[in-house]
């Protein structure tokens, strides 16, 4: 297989315009002859489904939640970037492009990232026209803030609920098309397989989560917008239902999976409190604008604080280590996410962590409250402080907050070309589900931007190029390929339901997550990864022989839903390890302990690893095949990322 990214010719700033001109169009009267399936209805899926329907295509949209309004995009707190330069502080499309490429540690495609920066401007216009209530200045114009390592104010926000407001905007656009009869909505329905006929994606097999009914849906093209796979770690900031199954099923049908080892660890989450814990809650990164991160200088003081013998407020200034300010004087507490996360791990590994488990650092607002007054801090972060108080039972106005890094976003995903098409013709992947724009690390406020750019402004153009060459004839769901896929799905379900072992799905998932976090998490090394691979394979065998299941398929069966997803996580986990092991360098969220600078920073190897690692499935039990898409940088100079 040869990976062709289909990057258009010409200067960077003109590629997208030229490409749009060159791609084939579908006559408006013919658009109604095409059916498109969109799986997932978050920012990417809802915006794509709505826009495709507006254009005139017949759309079938699927989500596992009871309503598309519940998609996990709704939980994004921070904001969305756009190179509007409304503040006149030197922002530009090129600067947003440059920051994103550099922030991703030079492991993303120039052409894609530039297009993202260009379209960021249209996204804000679109959202405002839909009635998204962004923050405003007194004069009535839009307000901005700086966010996540950026030195310009380009982030648009709606308090700490930007994701919610943008999603509700896309959701309402989608509902409008449902009412117009152009989108048929399938809530509480989960994709269980992708159907490929004559090498092209022609449909999907789903399970109705209420009745258990297995159904086939045929279409001329299939769009996956199913989000990330961070829940492979069990504990993450993802919603409980977020899963990697759709992407994984596509991989097993021939779509390459790119950079699976690139996981973003977010530095400011509420730490784990007990073994029963089901998920981690993120505290907005904006807190780092005013909070100071520290731990005690000595292990002795940290132990005293952990045992409750010493109150953190009583530890004198000269016995505190504000380690980010000390090591990175020019960025301080605002260093990018991977740097902040890794340094939290280091100080906790040294035994200087706080909290009952020793796996936490302080995020202290004492000085900010002294400087600006409690009212100012309350106005800025009140809702976040309330949330923290509710979850932990501690008052962050009086006691420093405790935070720890947690799995947040997966930069890896299905490999797609410039048109967002996977290596299976007719199968597209958009939003977090693809690998394309964030490289090895994702900057704050860029995920919402990518989801909406893909859904509103890219896919609706590029999918036409493919469909224009497709015959109108529909494949009936009685086609043998659909029947085969249905049978395969039914067998998998039967096999799981007949399992009468001793351990529950959650117990297996927790164990898998721990292996991944310990050996393929914030930092990795070859020895640990090799060990982890063995452990995952062994645990997977136990999963298939010792799983305790309940119920039947023909009912609302949440145990079965979970089991199907975890079965896929087991396989995906192994690929993540394989990918992490082969990449003998450190970059962004992938930190290999063997490859670091003398002062402990990530050491990239551009000579040998400036490529996208795209893995091809070759059958169960066989090694996947690695295809490399070389990354060519013509417009930026690769430099060592330094935040000193």
């Amino acid at each position: 297989m040869k990976l062709d990214a289909k990057i258009p010719e010409g200067p960077l700033a003109e590629k997208w315009e030229r490409h749009k001109f060159n791609i084939k169009l579908v006559n408006p009267a013919n658009k109604r002859k095409y059916d498109i399936i969109v799986v997932g209805t978050g920012l990417a899926g809802a915006s794509a489904a709505a826009t495709l329907a507006e254009l005139g295509y017949n759309v079938k949209a699927f989500c596992f939640q009871d309503s598309p309004r519940r998609a996990h995009s709704i939980a994004a707190q921070g904001g969305i970037n756009a190179a509007k330069n409304y503040q006149g502080d030197g922002d530009s499309i090129f600067r947003l492009f440059y920051d994103t490429i550099k922030g991703g540690d030079y492991r993303s495609r120039e052409a894609n990232v530039y297009r993202l920066a260009q379209l960021s401007v249209n996204i804000i216009d679109q959202a405002v026209a839909q009635g998204v209530p962004f923050a405003r200045e007194y004069g009535g114009l839009l307000a901005n803030r700086s966010f996540g390592g950026a030195q310009v104010s380009r982030t648009f926000y709606a308090k700490g609920q930007t994701g919610q407001q943008l999603l509700l905007g896309a959701y309402s656009a989608l509902m409008r098309q449902v009412a117009a009869g152009k989108v048929q909505m399938f809530p509480r329905t989960e994709l269980l397989d992708v159907v490929v006929i004559d090498g092209k994606a022609r449909g999907i097999v789903t399970r109705n989560l209420i009745t258990g009914k297995i159904e086939s849906h045929s279409a001329h093209a299939v769009v996956l917008a199913t989000g990330g796979y961070g829940n492979v770690f069990y504990l993450s900031t993802n919603a409980m239902g977020s899963n990697g199954s759709a992407a994984w099923r596509a991989y097993k049908k021939g779509a390459c999976f790119a950079n699976p080892c690139f996981t973003q660890i977010h530095p400011t989450c509420i730490p784990v409190s007990g073994h029963y814990q089901s998920k981690l809650t993120l505290m907005s990164e904006s807190l780092r604008n005013d909070g100071r991160v520290w731990v005690p200088k000595t292990v002795e003081d940290a132990e005293k604080i952990r045992r409750g013998e010493l109150h953190p407020n009583d530890l004198p200034e000269d016995r505190r280590d504000y380690y980010l300010e000390r090591k990175y004087p020019s960025f301080g507490n605002l260093v990018p996410r991977d740097v902040a996360s890794r340094n939290a791990k280091y100080v906790c590994d040294e035994g200087r962590g706080v909290g009952s488990t020793g796996l936490a650092v302080f995020l202290d607002f004492r000085d900010a409250i002294k400087r600006d007054g409690r009212a100012v801090i309350e106005a800025k972060y009140g809702n976040l402080f309330d949330m923290y108080m509710r979850i932990t039972g501690e008052n962050p106005y009086e006691v420093p907050m405790k935070i720890y890094p947690a799995v947040h976003y997966t930069m890896g995903g299905l490999w797609v070309d410039y048109n967002l098409m996977t290596t299976i013709p007719g199968l597209y992947a958009i939003g977090e589900c693809n690998f394309s724009d964030h490289g090895a690390n994702r900057l704050g406020a860029s995920a919402l931007m990518q989801g909406l750019a893909d859904g509103y402004f890219i896919l609706p153009y590029t999918i036409g190029d493919y469909l224009a060459g497709m015959p109108y004839e529909k494949v009936p769901t009685t086609h043998p390929a659909f029947k085969d896929a249905e049978r395969e799905v039914e067998n998998r379900i039967k096999k799981l339901l007949s399992s009468n072992g001793k351990r529950t799905v959650d117990e297996f998932h927790r164990e898998l997550g721990k292996i991944m976090w310990d050996y393929c998490g914030m930092s990795r090394n070859a020895e640990g990864l090799m060990k982890a691979r063995e452990m995952v394979v062994k645990l997977r065998e136990e999963f298939w022989s010792d799983l305790k299941m309940t119920g039947v398929n023909e009912e609302f069966n949440q145990t079965l839903e979970k089991a199907l997803r975890v079965a896929d996580f087991f396989e995906l986990a192994e690929l993540m390890i394989v990918d992490a092991l082969h990449r003998n360098e450190s970059c962004g969220g992938h930190f290999r302990e063997e490859y670091q600078t003398p002062d402990g920073e990530a050491l990239r190897n551009d000579e040998e690893y400036a490529y996208v690692a795209a893995w091809q499935y070759t059958g169960d039990g066989n090694e996947p095949v690695l295809h490399k898409e070389p990354l060519v940088f013509e417009n930026v100079k690769l430099t060592q990322r330094s935040y000193k």
């Binding site: 939640q65 009871d66 200045e137 509902m175 509710r390 959650d506």
Partner: protein, 259 residues
């Protein structure tokens, strides 16, 4: 903590349903309410029993998927979502009664899970601004006073969980509808469709079988996002205003065709 749970069990929409009593030990005060149910479910699965079905997803108070009527209150004793309710709100030895949302337009799917798709249909009736993708002008060409934007935002934060319906003795969806109508009526972008929107959304709300508002205020008291009943007043005003606009005198079916 040791707790006694009385949980509504109902195999499916056609089953009659009944309360079943369970004991849980080792409940930590730091657990969320849903994590406590996870622990119960783990023990049920080990015993080979059917775990309790309940809806949940983000578990950080924003997706609106979690529900549960706990000791006679939507989302339990605190004014928050069930996922953000922690066991420190209860005492050792407590008995907790857990039921699904009870409202005719929210039929039970299984155990504690109900079907809230009526809310989606109300939004489909007009809870949006008709704008096609790519046709928007520059965002700063529509200045909006800061206080108006904030007011619209406060209404827009509704998470569609349905607690307002569950809290209402009439199973009214007025707070939910009012939040969306307010959000869009307060903004200049929403203005052209104001009259049509409110008329169609109310018609759909009635068609779904939600009851009328009698200004009891239970909805606001139980809303995890603190959506104000002021919005219901605005909804009524918008509805009345729409009645005086000629266009809306046409039968709704006709409007639907035009739109």
């Amino acid at each position: 903590m040791k707790l006694t749970l009385k949980i509504w069990r109902q195999k499916n929409a056609n089953d009659k349903g009944r309360f079943v009593t369970y004991q849980v030990d080792d409940v930590s005060p730091d657990m969320s309410f849903l994590e406590m149910l996870d622990v119960l479910n783990e023990s049920l699965i080990h015993k080979g029993e059917d775990p309790v079905a309940f809806d949940h997803d983000c578990r950080e108070g924003i997706c609106g998927m979690c529900s549960l009527y706990i000791n006679g209150k939507p989302h339990g004793p605190e004014q928050t979502t069930t996922c953000q309710l922690h066991m420190r709100s209860f005492k050792d030895g407590d008995t907790i009664v857990i039921e699904p949302w009870r409202a005719k337009p929210f039929p039970v799917v299984k155990d504690l899970v109900v079907d809230r798709s009526a809310f989606d249909r109300i939004i489909q009736a007009g809870g949006y601004i008709s704008v096609n993708t790519g046709s928007a002008q520059d965002a700063n060409n529509i200045p909006i006073p800061k206080d108006k934007a904030s007011e619209a935002f406060d209404a827009a934060t509704c998470i569609g969980c349905g607690a307002c319906v569950a809290a209402c003795k009439n199973a009214s969806a007025m707070l939910f509808v009012a939040a969306k109508v307010s959000h869009l009526a307060l903004l200049p972008q929403g203005d052209p469709e104001r009259a049509i929107r409110v008329s169609k959304m109310i018609a759909q709300m009635d068609a779904e079988g939600f009851g009328a508002c009698t200004n009891t205020g239970a909805c606001e008291a139980e809303c995890p996002k603190g959506i104000s009943v002021k919005n219901i007043a605005r909804l009524n005003r918008e509805y009345l205003r729409a009645k005086f606009i000629e266009e809306v005198d046409k039968p709704l079916e006709e409007l639907a065709e035009e739109n």
